[in-house]
C-alpha cells in the first residue's frame, strides 16, 4: 500500500510553438529616448535578417502559465528525498538565492575597475581561504565552471609541473570505479588512460598500483571516498607509491561531503583536487547546472594556477595577470561567481563545527539506510560505507528485475531513484546517497518502499518491470529517441505529431 503519494490532476501543456499566435508578446520596452535608426541603412540590408521563423509569440500570462505547468511535471529536492549517489542532493538554502541576487553583486560587470569590485574580490578571497582550510591545501582557483572542468584544470597543472621538471610523461592511471569524466579529462590533456582494477573490497589494489606505477605515469586520478562510498584506507600508501616514482595525485572531490571536517586531502598527500560546490556546498543543481568546480592545490602546483589571481596591495584587492608559469585561462572572466556567493553563504551558515556535524550526519544517514536495506539487497562491498551505500541487483536480477526497473518502481512510491548502474564495477549498481539534510521520517519511508519493492519482485515482478504506473508520463522509449533523433521542434514534426 503506497501512502507517501497519491494521484492528482496536473495540467497538460503544448510546446511554446504550438501555443503561439501572431502578434502576441509578453513584454513592453521603455520608450526610446534617442532617434530610431533604419537598420538596413546603418548596417546594410544584407546584414538584416527576416523575422525569426516560428519563434514564440505568447503573452506574459501565457509564459507564466506555460512554465508553471511544465514545472509541475518535475520531481525536485523540495518535494522529497533525492538519493542520487555521487550527486549529493542536499537542501539548497533559500537565503543563498537571495544573497546571490544582491544588486551590487549580481549586476557587477567583470571588467568594471577593481576599485569598484572590492566586494566581489573579498567574496572570492573569503571562499578561497575557506576551501583551502577545508581541503588542507595551499591555494584554490574558483575559475572552473564544474567538476569536469576542474579535473581538466587540475590535470593541466600536473602536466605543467611535470614539464617544468623536464618530462610531462605519458599516462594517467584511473581506477575502474572512476567517474567517466576522469578518463575523458585525461585525454583532453594529451594523456593516455590506464585503468586499474579495484580489489575485492572496492578499493585501489596497492600491489596492482605498485606494478603499473612507472616513470611513464604522470599521475593517478583517485576518488576518495571512492564511488562505492568507501574510504581508500591505503590512501597514504597510494600517495607514497605515486610520489616515490615522481608521479602526482589528483583527487576527485565529488564525494567531499563525506570528509569535510574529519579528513583533509592536503594532509594525507593529495597534490590537487576539485570540489563540486553544487554538491558538497549546497548550490542548487537547477536541472543540470550551473555548478562550480573549485580546484585546490598543494604548494608545488601554485605557480601553475589559471590566471588572473588575487593580490592584496595596500588595503585593496587587485587582479594579477603576470603569472609566467600559469596554465592560462580555462574560461573567460573569473568563474561562476554567483555560485561562489551561494557556497560561501553555506559555509558561513554552518561554520567549522556545523560543517563537521553535517559530515557526520551524512555518514549516519547513509549507514542507517545501508543497515536497514542489507537484508533485502546485496551490498556491493563489505567495507564500511561513508556518505553513500552501493548495492548490487544480483538477488533481484535472478527474478529478471534489474536496478533500472527498481528505480522506476521507486517513482510510484514517491521517490526519485538512486543512481542507476554506476559505478560500472558493480553488477547492476544501486548507488544511494541520502545526504545529511534528510529527516529520519523520509528515510524510513524510503526503506519501506525499497522493502516493499523487494517483496513485489518476489510476488509480481511484472509490476516492477513495467513501472512507473502513476506518473503523467509512463516509461519513456529512449531507444527510439536515439535511433532517429528529433532534437528540435519543426512545423513538420508537429504535423506528424498531429497525424498520430
Amino acid at each position: 500500500m503506497i501512502e507517501k503519494v497519491s494521484r492528482h490532476i496536473v495540467q497538460e501543456e503544448p510546446l511554446l510553438f504550438e501555443l503561439s499566435s501572431p502578434g502576441k508578446r509578453g513584454y513592453q520596452l521603455p520608450e526610446l529616448d534617442v532617434p530610431a535608426v533604419d537598420a538596413k541603412a546603418v548596417v546594410g540590408s544584407e546584414n538584416v535578417r527576416n523575422e525569426i521563423e516560428d519563434f514564440p509569440e505568447v503573452s506574459e500570462f501565457e509564459t507564466v502559465r506555460h512554465f508553471t505547468r511544465l514545472s509541475t511535471w518535475n520531481y525536485a529536492i523540495d518535494l522529497g528525498l533525492y538519493p542520487l549517489g555521487s550527486c549529493t542532493m542536499k537542501y539548497n538554502p533559500r537565503v543563498n538565492e537571495l544573497v546571490a541576487r544582491t544588486e551590487g553583486l549580481a549586476w557587477a560587470h567583470p571588467y568594471q575597475p577593481d576599485s569598484l569590485s572590492q566586494g566581489c574580490l573579498e567574496t572570492i578571497y573569503a571562499l578561497e581561504r575557506a576551501l583551502a582550510e577545508i581541503t588542507g591545501m595551499d591555494a584554490v582557483t574558483l575559475q572552473p565552471a564544474a567538476g569536469a572542468h576542474g579535473e581538466f584544470t587540475g590535470i593541466l597543472m600536473m602536466r605543467a609541473l611535470l614539464e617544468k621538471r623536464g618530462n610531462p610523461r605519458k599516462k594517467i592511471l584511473v581506477p575502474d570505479s572512476a567517474h567517466g569524466t576522469n578518463p575523458a579529462t585525461a585525454m583532453m590533456v594529451g594523456y593516455s588512460v590506464e585503468n586499474i582494477k579495484s580489489n575485492e573490497r572496492g578499493m585501489v589494489d596497492v600491489d596492482v598500483l605498485s606494478r603499473v606505477m612507472t616513470e611513464d605515469v604522470a599521475g593517478l586520478m583517485i576518488t576518495n571516498p571512492n564511488t562505492v562510498g568507501v574510504f581508500e584506507e591505503n590512501i597514504r600508501k597510494i600517495c607514497g607509491i605515486l610520489h616515490d616514482k615522481g608521479g602526482l595525485i589528483y583527487m576527485d572531490g565529488a564525494n567531499m561531503n563525506a570528509l569535510v571536517g574529519i579528513a583533509r586531502p592536503g594532509d594525507f598527500g593529495v597534490d590537487v583536487m576539485h570540489l563540486n560546490l553544487h554538491k558538497t556546498f549546497s548550490t542548487p543543481h537547477g536541472g543540470g547546472g550551473p555548478g562550480s568546480g573549485a580546484v585546490a592545490v598543494a604548494k608545488v602546483l601554485t605557480p601553475f594556477l589559471p590566471g588572473p589571481r588575487l593580490n592584496r596591495e595596500g588595503d585593496a584587492w587587485h587582479w594579477n595577470y603576470d603569472l609566467p608559469d600559469s596554465i592560462g585561462r580555462v574560461r573567460a572572466y573569473y568563474g561562476n561567481f554567483g555560485v561562489l556567493v551561494r557556497a560561501l553563504a553555506y559555509i558561513m551558515a554552518h561554520g567549522g563545527n556545523g560543517l563537521r556535524q553535517a559530515t557526520l550526519d551524512a555518514v549516519l544517514n547513509a549507514n542507517y539506510l545501508r543497515v536497514l536495506l542489507e537484508p533485502y539487497y546485496e551490498i556491493a562491498y563489505k567495507a564500511p560505507s561513508m556518505h553513500e551505500a552501493v548495492f548490487s541487483d544480483d538477488r533481484q536480477a535472478k527474478k529478471g528485475v534489474r536496478t533500472g526497473d527498481i528505480a522506476k518502481r521507486l517513482i510510484d512510491y514517491g521517490f526519485h531513484p538512486y543512481t542507476v548502474s554506476f559505478p560500472l564495477i558493480v553488477r547492476g549498481a544501486l548507488m544511494i546517497e541520502p545526504t545529511e539534510t534528510e529527516s529520519k521520517r523520509e528515510l524510513d519511508l524510503f526503506v519501506d518502499a525499497m522493502i516493499s519493492i523487494a517483496q513485489e519482485i518476489d510476488e509480481s515482478p511484472e509490476l516492477v518491470v513495467n513501472a512507473p504506473h502513476s506518473t503523467r508520463t509512463l516509461r519513456v522509449d529512449e531507444v527510439t529517441a536515439a535511433r532517429k533523433p528529433i532534437v528540435r521542434w519543426t512545423p513538420k514534426t508537429a504535423a506528424s505529431q498531429a497525424a498520430d
Partner: protein
C-alpha cells in the same frame, strides 16, 4: 538511528578511519552565522562594489533588463532544485523546456541542431574546435584576432596538449577580419577557422564571403557570438558549420563573470560529434509524446576516454532563464529590443571619434582626439559613469582606443555626458 546501526555516537561511524588521515583539529572557520548576519555580510560586500553607476561596458557581458517573470520561473523549486533529467518520467518539465531551448537556439542561429548548453561562450570555442578536428580529421585551427581575447586564451589552454596548432588571423583597418591574411594561412591542414560576429569590436564580419573561402578549402567555419541580442535583428551565420556563443544577454545578470550559458549549434549531419547533453523527442509506453536525454553514447559517462568532451554538469538553469526571456520577447519583441540597442549605440557613436568604419551593432571602438582613455574614464567615474573598456590590455596597437557598448538600459543624458568627456 544510531541504535539501529549499533553505534553509540556518530564518531563511532568514522572511528575506523586510519588515525594518520583523520583531521582531529577544528576547522579554522568561524561559528555558524544567522541568516540575518549572512544577508548583512553580502549587503556590505555589495556596497563595496559599483552601485548606481551608469555603465558603457560590454566586451562579452551586456547590461540588459531582466523581466521579473524570469526570476519567477527559475525560483520554482521544481526547476531550481531538480537534478539533471536522467529519470524522464519525473523530469518532463525540465526536458520539455530544454527541447524548447534547443529549438529556439536553432531558430535564432539558423542552425539545424543545438545542445542543452555549454559552460559559457568561451569554453564552447575549444569544444567547437575539437569537434571540427574530429569531423575534418585535420588538426590546425585559425582564429581571428577579432574574437574575444579571453575566448582566444581559453582556446590556447584547451588545444595546447591535444596536438591542435592554433594561428591567429589579423584584422584590417576597418576592424574586420583581413581576408588576405585568411587566404594566405588557409591550407589543407586547417580544420576550422573561428570568427566572431558581431566581433569583439562590435563589427559585423562578412560571414557569407568568408564561408565560401573557407568551405572551398574543405575547412569548417565556426562563428562565435557574444551579444545574443544582435540575433534579433542581424542576419544569423546561416553559412557557418558550427555556431557557438554566449546567452548572457538573455536575462542572465552579469554577476561578475558567471554563471552564464554557452551554446553550440551545428548541422544535422554533425549531430553525433556535438559535445554535451541533448534532449530528444520520443514517446512513452502509452505512445504519448515525451522527451528524454539522448545520444548519450557521445558522452563521458558512457564513452569515457572516447567521449566527445568531458563535460557533464552544464548550465541548465541559466538556459531556462534564456528560454523564458526569448519567450517573453518573442518574435517581435526581440527585434524591437535589438533595434533599440542599435539606435542607442549609433546615437553615442555619432558623438565619438570612431576608430573603424565597418557596420556595427551595439558596440564600437572609439579612438582618441588627444585625451587618453584613462583621462576620459576617470573623468566619467567622477560622474558615476563607468566608461568604455580600455583596449590596450588586449590590443597594444589600440592603446588609445576604448570599446563602448550602449544598450536599451543606457540613458541619453549619460551618453551626452560621455560625449562631453571626449570634449566633442
Amino acid at each position: 538511528m544510531l541504535a539501529a546501526i549499533g553505534a553509540k555516537t556518530e564518531e563511532d561511524l568514522i572511528a575506523y578511519l586510519p588515525a594518520d588521515v583523520r583531521f582531529d583539529k577544528r576547522l579554522a572557520i568561524e561559528d555558524g552565522k544567522s541568516e540575518y548576519d549572512i544577508v548583512d555580510y553580502f549587503k556590505q560586500r555589495s556596497t563595496e562594489n559599483a552601485i548606481g553607476y551608469a555603465s558603457f561596458l560590454g566586451a562579452g557581458v551586456y547590461n540588459h533588463y531582466r523581466p521579473v517573470v524570469v526570476d519567477t520561473v527559475v525560483s520554482r523549486g521544481e526547476f531550481l532544485t531538480s537534478y539533471t533529467p536522467y529519470q524522464a518520467e519525473i523530469s518532463q518539465g525540465t526536458l520539455t523546456s530544454i527541447f524548447e531551448f534547443q529549438t529556439m537556439v536553432c531558430q535564432l542561429t539558423g542552425m539545424e541542431v543545438a545542445n542543452a548548453s555549454m559552460y559559457d561562450g568561451s569554453s564552447a570555442v575549444p569544444e567547437a574546435a575539437m569537434m571540427a578536428v574530429r569531423v575534418t580529421r585535420r588538426d590546425k585551427i585559425l582564429i581571428a584576432r577579432t574574437v574575444h581575447p579571453e575566448y582566444r586564451e581559453v582556446l590556447a589552454t584547451y588545444t595546447k596538449h591535444q596536438g591542435i596548432p592554433v594561428e591567429e588571423l589579423a584584422y584590417g583597418k576597418n576592424g574586420r577580419l583581413d581576408l588576405d591574411d585568411l587566404k594566405k594561412k588557409l591550407d589543407s591542414s586547417v580544420a576550422a577557422i573561428i570568427l566572431q560576429s558581431p566581433n569583439f569590436f562590435g563589427i559585423l564580419e562578412q560571414v557569407p564571403e568568408i564561408s565560401h573561402i573557407v568551405q572551398s578549402k574543405g575547412a569548417l567555419l565556426v562563428v562565435v557570438f557574444t551579444e545574443a541580442v544582435a540575433l534579433g535583428l542581424i542576419e544569423p551565420p546561416r553559412d557557418a558549420d558550427i555556431v557557438v556563443g554566449e546567452l548572457q544577454s538573455f536575462a542572465i545578470s552579469p554577476s561578475y563573470g558567471g554563471p552564464y550559458a554557452g551554446i553550440i549549434a551545428t548541422r544535422e549531419k554533425y549531430i553525433r560529434q556535438i559535445p554535451g547533453r541533448l534532449v530528444g523527442e520520443t514517446t512513452d509506453a502509452q505512445g504519448r509524446r515525451a522527451f528524454c536525454l539522448t545520444l548519450a553514447t557521445r558522452e563521458q559517462h558512457i564513452r569515457r576516454e572516447k567521449a566527445t568532451s568531458n563535460i557533464c554538469t552544464n548550465q541548465a538553469l541559466l538556459a531556462l532563464m534564456a528560454t523564458v526571456f526569448m519567450t517573453l520577447y518573442g518574435k517581435e519583441g526581440l527585434r524591437e529590443l535589438a533595434e533599440q540597442n542599435l539606435a542607442k549605440a549609433h546615437y553615442l557613436a555619432d558623438k565619438l571619434p570612431l576608430q573603424f568604419d565597418a557596420p556595427f551593432f551595439n558596440e564600437f571602438v572609439a579612438g582618441t582626439n588627444g585625451k587618453s582613455p584613462q583621462a576620459i574614464n576617470s573623468a566619467l567615474l567622477e560622474k558615476k559613469i563607468v566608461g568604455g573598456l580600455e583596449l590596450g590590455r588586449f590590443y597594444p596597437e589600440l592603446k588609445n582606443c576604448t570599446l563602448w557598448c550602449a544598450t536599451e538600459m543606457n540613458k541619453r543624458q549619460d551618453m551626452d555626458m560621455v560625449a562631453e568627456a571626449f570634449g566633442k
